[in-house]
Symmetry: C2
Subunit: 407 residues, 2 copies
């Protein structure tokens, strides 16, 4: 069984790494804070007697390979330990530390196993600094070349490759070196559904499609006092129109469609000058590929219309695009059955967030397990899941792993 | 008469000071670039044999005080030499250098004069770094205490007082030390009216009222993928709604009402996190005080409504507020008469921009003369007025000055 106290303690310990003087947690990929988190994880993996493998994109693996099944395809469990700015301590870290707990429990249990078990911590899942997000698992699954990913630059022009080398996590293993028998990711829901419905476990059947774009709007800087409203080419106004448009469109498409303008910059960004340029990001998601395409097409048409009406030049750049993903039905059934045997209430659901599991699904049978998030809050210091719920999720992950490797 | 070539040459010389490696002109108040511009101006004033006076708020004056009228109230001419970011070279600088040209012409003419003549270059007219704008003239006219103005901080927390001392322009004269007999400011229009109507000279009768606010919207950071649209408190969306609202409201109030959101910042400003905070500026202007108040009240009501509907906290801070200003009718008539005598076509008009003259109007009879701006463009490197039009404006300023001091 799971050592509940050890799991909770490790979550606290890792969550204390990467805090600023005001106590805000930010372990952004390939920063010094990320290095400190990685070093702590590697110490735990090493203490657990696992073999440490770091691949070229910086993914960290801890492998338990008993001699008798050393060459079988491994069961892989994991998630990520990078965070957004001012994050909670569960997103990603919970899945990695629970996976480690599962391996330790299996080892301690002593039952013969039919496959190696690996815990994986994937690089740059959040995409807060380098695009695209879910990068480490995407590269591992063969969806993006390691060199292209390592060449991704942050806002200051620094490449991921340079900073991975700087923090000592530019490994040598080739991403994808082991093709897993199956991949299972345990994660907090990051949404309100399980809590609202009083379910203990979410059996994630599928995952929203994601479309990320950067939009650059070029107008004309001019004096804020002397230029009549009818004669303006105001890039900031256009950015505002785009923002309200994507919100209204998402509501019109349906309750499962979402749209977010998370980042926005105006130039020259001065109180009395009409903005000459606006750079903004648009994040569109929908579990239905047809509806996601409708949202993308609607945005493109709106941009063309706005450029014409306001005398603006509008350019867009695709930052990321992932189709909706369906997880392995047999794995979903297994999770549901084992949860029910433990007396846990379950709910089938769609994940609104992107997860490493969606990338790993390209490579092997994959599924996800969700536990509730209080008030649905995530990417925020108020992110919280009760200790009992965290332990129940980890215990279920152990049950699933044991079943998959015949322990 | 005006030395046209010298005037144009000085405009070019001053316009070359404060350029970055890409050639962009930014002589923001109390920066090193501003110091370099001030040093050049002081050299010219000194070479012209003028007495240099710098007051506590950093306003620079060059005074011609002939013995016989030394103690009479001076005629003051001038404007400012600070700029916005990526500016043109005429806004402000033209009025200061034309004023210097006028004094040199009067001195060279040798006719007896009844009053001293002073050229003034006021500190921080643009307000690009320190609030409020038109600060030097406001302080000179007694509308703001020198200590309060010197304590104004830029985004990095640096006070104007500290940087004025650093660049050597924290003078000792008390602002307002000389109460002028009259103040006349020559300026480019910064709007399209004169060019569109083919008029050579704008006789500025009055000036728009200005209302500047900073709005801070606090919502809830949350995951962009998992939070349904109906459950969001999106500070960035609210900022977009405010932006579109003030634009629509300005159009509804009337053709002379304008509204601009020039500066906007989102936090955490990450692609996949719903913005938890938005900070934006709103610039409202109208030549009619009642309409400006209507615009302010409309914005306040909209903010209250938006806060309620979206579950946000919205705070506003007044950055600047100036009522519309009417200039001296006798001075306007004099300008019109003298322009007509020179064969220049004139047009009575309202200034949409704030100018130092609006502050000086608190202190003495004041007026402004505009020359055309090509395409109405200003606060932009494409700002342009034909050399002939610049010379004609300066010549008219000389005629007006000569008339006012009996030369």
């Amino acid at each position: 069984v799971i050592d509940r106290d050890r799991l909770l303690e490790r979550i606290e310990t890792l969550g204390a790494i990467g805090r600023d003087p005001e106590g805000r947690l930010s372990r952004i990929a390939a920063t010094d804070a990320d290095k400190a988190g990685r070093d702590q994880l590697v110490r735990w993996l090493t203490d657990a007697g696992l073999e440490i493998i770091v691949d070229r994109i910086g993914n960290i693996f801890g492998a338990w390979r008993p001699d008798r099944c050393r060459h079988a395809a491994p069961l892989m469990l994991g998630s990520h330990i990078d965070t957004v700015v001012d994050a909670g301590q569960l997103d990603g870290a919970y899945g990695v530390l629970a996976a480690l707990e599962v391996i330790e429990a299996l080892k301690a249990g002593g039952a013969p196993v039919s496959r190696p078990v690996m815990v994986g911590a994937f690089t740059n899942e959040e995409g807060a600094r380098f695009s695209p997000d879910m990068m480490g698992s995407l590269v591992y699954a063969g969806g993006l070349s390691p060199d292209a990913a390592l060449g991704s630059r942050d806002r200051d022009g620094v490449t991921l490759g340079a900073d991975l080398a700087r923090i000592g996590y530019a490994g040598t293993a080739e991403p994808g070196f082991a093709r897993p028998h199956a991949f299972v990711e345990l994660h907090i829901e990051q949404g309100p559904v399980l809590e609202r419905e009083g379910a203990a476990i979410g059996v994630v059947e599928n995952l929203q499609g994601i479309s990320w774009r950067r939009i650059t709007i070029s107008g004309m800087a001019n004096h804020a006092g002397t230029t009549p409203m009818s004669m303006r080419s105001d890039a900031g106004l256009a950015a505002a129109l785009v923002t309200t448009f994507v919100h209204q469109q998402a509501k019109a498409i349906g309750p499962r469609s979402v749209a977010t303008v998370g980042a926005l910059k105006l130039e020259p960004n001065v109180i009395n000058v009409i903005p000459s340029r606006a750079t903004l990001t648009v994040d569109l998601r929908d579990p239905d590929e047809a509806k996601l395409r409708r949202a993308e097409a609607g945005l493109a048409a709106m941009l063309a219309r706005t450029a014409g009406e306001h005398g603006l030049r509008i350019e867009t750049e695709r930052l990321a695009r992932f189709e909706p993903v369906a997880f392995d039905p047999d794995l979903c059934n297994l999770i549901e059955t084992l949860a029910t045997e433990r007396g846990l209430t379950t709910r089938r659901m769609t994940s609104g967030a992107g997860h490493d599991a969606q990338m790993m699904a390209r490579l092997c049978p994959t599924a996800m397990i969700f536990v509730p998030s209080r008030d649905g809050i995530s990417h925020n210091p108020r992110e919280h899941t009760d200790p009992g719920e965290l332990a129940a999720g980890a215990q279920l992950l152990l049950d699933v792993a044991a079943s998959l490797i015949g322990a």
